[in-house]
């Protein structure tokens, strides 16, 4: 009978080498992401713990607002399973142009460059991966993270003032804050909520989790604050809640309130976004973009005005 070997003792004397070159390639991935993002001045993620609060609508309108202020803007839609940014900007059906140096993103209204999973999908087709779905919990999360890594590493953004990243919905121990953690020199996260107590509760968790991950949460946008009925004209609050109080508790600035605006929403649904900067709801997005700029310049503001 063979003598039992002491593996621990054997390993103590061995020097590990990465001869399959796995670690080397993973390090290279990180290097590529850093290199690709180097030309972008401010990287911001837009997140919320709760789905359906209007995160994509907010991201798209903030991108347009920055572009209207003369900035060069990119918009990365990393909601892999529900990408809607291209449709909202009238880019559905277009695709990334593959070149040896990387993927060239289509350019939308006001010069906003867009990358999205939607560009890889046929009309109304869901994202489906090759591989055994019965064991998908083993590999699916890893796969999605690496697809997102490719979006960060392979899109040729060029020089940008702002890159806005529309994260998928999800709260605490979920993907969004992890995705945000991939992005080098992330300026911060903008959190979108509705004034409903249910949304507030979940959003609060996502803020805490993002902070645990070391992500700077810059402020909150309250979406669907109120609604003007197109039939009777009456303005009502849609939810009973108080985002201001939540912001105070979380020590976050409330960046602005956006009403539920059916006219504006319809234009995005049809891929013909309303771009008129005199339109009241668009002006609110402009104000929020201005506040974000102030926050990014926070130290300068304090030095100037204190």
């Amino acid at each position: 009978m063979a003598v039992e070997k002491d593996l621990k003792a054997i390993l103590r004397n061995l020097k590990y080498s990465d001869d399959a070159k796995v670690l080397e390639q993973i390090s290279e991935h990180t290097r590529q992401v850093h290199a690709r993002m180097a030309g972008i001045k401010h990287k911001l993620v837009v997140m919320s713990g709760k789905g359906g609060v209007g995160k994509s609508m907010t991201t798209v309108n903030l991108a347009l607002a920055f572009a209207r202020q003369g900035a060069k803007v990119g918009l990365l839609d990393v909601d892999l399973n529900g990408p809607c940014v291209p449709r909202m900007l009238g880019l559905h059906g277009q695709s990334l142009t593959m070149r040896p140096e990387g993927a060239i993103p289509p350019v939308g209204p006001l010069g906003v460059k867009v990358a999205s999973m939607d560009f890889f999908l046929e009309d109304a087709a869901p994202v489906r991966w090759k591989g055994p779905m019965d064991v998908s919990p083993v590999w699916l999360g890893l796969m999605e993270m690496n697809v997102i890594r490719e979006f960060l590493a392979d899109v040729v953004w060029g020089e940008l003032d702002y890159l806005l990243v529309d994260l998928p919905p999800g709260a605490a121990a979920d993907k969004p804050p992890v995705i945000a953690g991939f992005i080098p020199d992330l300026a911060g996260a903008i959190v979108v909520t509705t004034p409903s107590e249910v949304a507030s509760d979940v959003v609060q968790k996502s803020v805490t989790y993002a902070r645990d991950m070391g992500i700077k949460v810059m402020g909150m946008v309250e979406n669907m604050s109120e609604y003007r009925c197109p039939s009777c004209g009456e303005v009502n609050e849609l939810f009973e809640g108080n985002t201001e109080a939540m912001c105070e508790m979380l020590d976050l600035p409330l960046l602005g309130r956006i009403p539920f605006d059916r006219t504006l929403a319809r234009t995005f649904d049809k891929g013909q976004p309303l771009l008129d900067d005199t339109y009241p709801t668009i002006q609110r997005y402009q104000d929020i973009a201005g506040r974000i700029r102030t926050l990014l310049d926070y130290k300068k503001v304090l030095a100037d005005k204190l």
């Binding site: 070997k5 039939s231 009777c232």
Partner: protein, 252 residues
Amino acid sequence: MKFVCLNCETYMNFEKVEKPGEDSLGVFFGCPSCNAKFSMVTNAGETQMVNSLGVKLGGRTVEAEPFEMTRGTLKAEATAGSGQMAAYLNEKIQGGQPAVAATTAAPAAKPGEKSGGGCPFSAMVAEMGLTSGGKPGDTETVTSDFTWSADAKEKLDRLPSFVKPMVQSSVEAFARKQGYKTITLQVMDDSKGESSNGITWTSDAEKRLENIPDFIRPMARKEVERVAKERGLATITAQVMDETKDKFMKFM
């Protein structure tokens, strides 16, 4: 993953990778001492797991193409039938009509103008117990040792349920400390001005803080209080404000 040759007590070297089947990988290792060969064969799940890493075992011989993994792992057959689905959805949702111009999408009714019960949100608003101004129709009673003025109580009642106890407790702690018996809106506002670390602000300093845009004022307040704390001061004076300003001038 590494393999150890127990006879030679050394790591086996990675040699090559082959694809014995559609959902399988054969990874070959060899012992550098005794030249023993060993092959690990992966099942479908393990193969997919390796693919999901976005790496080539053994390293790359050619540069990766953009979105190589995304394009290589999307299931092409998933798109089958999606054209018909899109046509169906277009027909059902848009009635096959081309999208209308943005500015004519929804004619807004004049404020106050009533129409024949077409408001899609009226029922929802009524269900939530809100009045037309969005104010709650009925609120919980504040349980407290203090007398809350009607407007202060209304402000408290409008807070989300999870925030309300904390705010109430904080305001009442402040009122107790100041010897107030009645909580008014002013007391609520003043309670916000008192920092949790007991630092007080002179009126001059408060006035200077108002130069900061209101949405970042709380952050600025914290920065100033941090400077005071570093210097062991309990009162924010104009001098502390100057020192904070100098601190931020260094970042310019």
